[in-house]
């Protein structure tokens, strides 16, 4: 292949950059348009209840032990017949996650024997105050205030990863 002389390739470069002006920018304007996160995206945590309203968490502190950032604090208390909170013997009297320390690794999710804690899809968790970053049990049990669009799970749920079948 005969090589094009340097000055001509340089001029070609100028025409390329000039043509770009008339193309539509590919930027996604974030606050107006929220790109759907993929279904296994690890965002802010959720605590879950059984269908009968009892909390799944039994206060075993395995999540706190697994946490590499040491951001989970669990204080357990005994369930009594007139104050039954969880399905197990004990329940989490205090359950706090310091989201300013959390690294969203998902180890708490893996460690939990009852699937009581999972990582949700919400990522808009910035606050003006550091204290507001500490999420209590009530906040974690409630539905998230800000909802994030999630992509269709079928889009990603393929047996062979996309990159392997296309390389």
């Amino acid at each position: 292949m005969p090589s094009t002389p340097q000055p001509i390739t340089t001029l070609k470069g100028f025409s390329v950059t000039f043509k770009q002006i008339f193309k539509k920018p590919i930027t996604q304007q974030y606050p107006e348009y929220k790109r759907p996160v993929y279904p296994r995206f690890r965002g802010r945590h959720r605590l879950w209840r059984h269908e009968n309203g009892l909390e799944k968490c039994v206060g075993c502190s395995l999540c706190a032990a697994a946490c590499p950032a040491d951001c989970i604090r669990v204080v357990a208390a005994e369930n009594t017949p007139d104050n039954r909170v969880s399905a197990g013997e004990r329940y989490a009297r205090i359950y706090e996650i310091n989201l300013s320390r959390c690294i969203f690794c998902g180890y708490c999710e893996l460690a939990c024997p009852f699937d009581a804690i999972t990582l949700g899809n919400e990522f808009e968790i910035s606050e003006y105050n550091r204290d507001d970053q500490i999420y209590t049990k009530d906040m974690l049990l409630a539905e998230p205030i800000k909802q994030v669009p999630v992509a269709d799970p079928d889009l990603y749920d393929t047996p062979i990863p996309f990159y392997k079948s296309h390389s």
């Binding site: 340089t10 470069g13 100028f14 000039f18 770009q20 002006i21 920018p25 930027t27 304007q29």
Partner: protein, 327 residues
């Protein structure tokens, strides 16, 4: 045809403010144009089309704490950005934007200072402005600043030679160092861009290096030097350096329009508007070059300056002189 002193002061005030506004919106234009060339939007949050972005930037810079390294040498550290900006603004004063008018029986010059050695004055002030960069980097007492300063020194000094030689042809053809006279001569004859095309190219390339714009932005190569000579500056002191750089760019574009594109001359007698439009076009080319070309290596920069630009500029000046003598 003499201008009263108070008109000169009013004119200087107006022109300085116009240059500053042009600088503010040049940053906007640059970010916007570069954004579009890279398939981005550029600033579009502050005001419609991001038009309030320069004002937001200014407020941010003024409010920001300007702190200095404890080992910095105080006086030169503070004076350096002021010197740079002052010389940059002063250099613009000799650039003519109109033929001069008579308003209410009083003569108003087409330039803030219509001096007979305008061209020499611009280069002299430009050289003084370099001291601001050098002293600022040196007084910062920081490794990155020193390295950036050394590069600034070497680059600006070596390219200034080619820059000055490239306009020699124009001076010979224009038979004057006064910029207004040069423009008048182009209006009667034709823009010097045609007979002095080589001079124009050399002037443009040396000008890119002189204002340390891409692809000659080695003095502040972010990837190697953080920010070059102004690494240790913050707040409005940094802002002054940045303003000085952009005002230098505007002055250089104005000089290029004056010397090679017949200044305010053009069809329909738009006067200063023609000058402004031409300057904008030249500035756009500077921005365009910045988005397109990657940075040169240091040895390439020096080789290009001394072994290509300087001989070409010299030969151009000599050939022009011979042609003028022969015909």
């Amino acid at each position: 045809m003499h201008e009263p002193w108070w008109i000169a002061i009013i004119e200087a005030l107006v022109i300085v403010n116009l240059v500053m506004v042009t600088f503010a919106y040049l940053t906007w234009l640059e970010r916007k144009a570069m954004g579009r060339m890279q398939l981005r939007y550029g600033p579009n949050r502050a005001g419609p089309f991001g038009l309030l972005q320069p004002i937001a930037d200014l407020v941010k810079l003024v409010r920001k704490e300007a702190f200095a390294p404890s080992s910095a040498i105080e006086a030169p550290y503070i004076v350096a950005p002021v010197v740079s900006l002052f010389t940059a603004l002063a250099a613009f004063s000799v650039i003519p934007f109109g033929p001069g008018w008579t308003i209410g029986g009083r003569h108003v010059n087409g330039a803030v200072a219509n001096v007979s050695i305008g061209l020499v004055l611009i280069f002299a002030l430009g050289s003084v402005g370099i001291y601001g960069f050098i002293v600022g980097g040196w007084a910062s007492e920081s490794k990155f600043s020193i390295l950036g300063t050394m590069r600034t020194c070497a680059q600006l000094v070596s390219y200034e030679v080619s820059l000055a030689l490239s306009v020699l042809g124009v001076v010979i053809l224009g038979r004057s160092l006064n910029l207004t006279d040069i423009v008048h001569r182009q209006g009667a004859f034709l823009p010097f861009a045609a007979p002095q095309f080589v001079g124009l190219v050399v002037f443009f390339l040396a000008g890119l290096a002189e204002t340390s714009r891409a692809p000659f932005d080695l003095p502040e190569a972010e990837q190697e030097l953080v920010a070059g000579y102004h690494t240790e500056y913050s707040g409005m002191r940094w802002g002054l350096f940045q303003t000085a750089e952009y005002v230098n760019l505007i002055t250089l574009s104005g000089l290029m329009v004056t010397l090679f594109f017949a200044g305010w001359h053009g069809p329909w007698h738009l006067g200063p508007l023609w000058f402004f439009l031409k300057v904008l076009a030249v500035l756009f080319v500077f921005i365009w070059v910045r988005t397109t070309l990657p940075r040169l290596r240091y040895d390439q920069l020096m080789r290009f300056g001394w072994k290509i630009l300087l001989p070409v500029a010299t030969v151009n000046a000599v050939v022009t002189a011979l042609c003028v003598v022969a015909f």
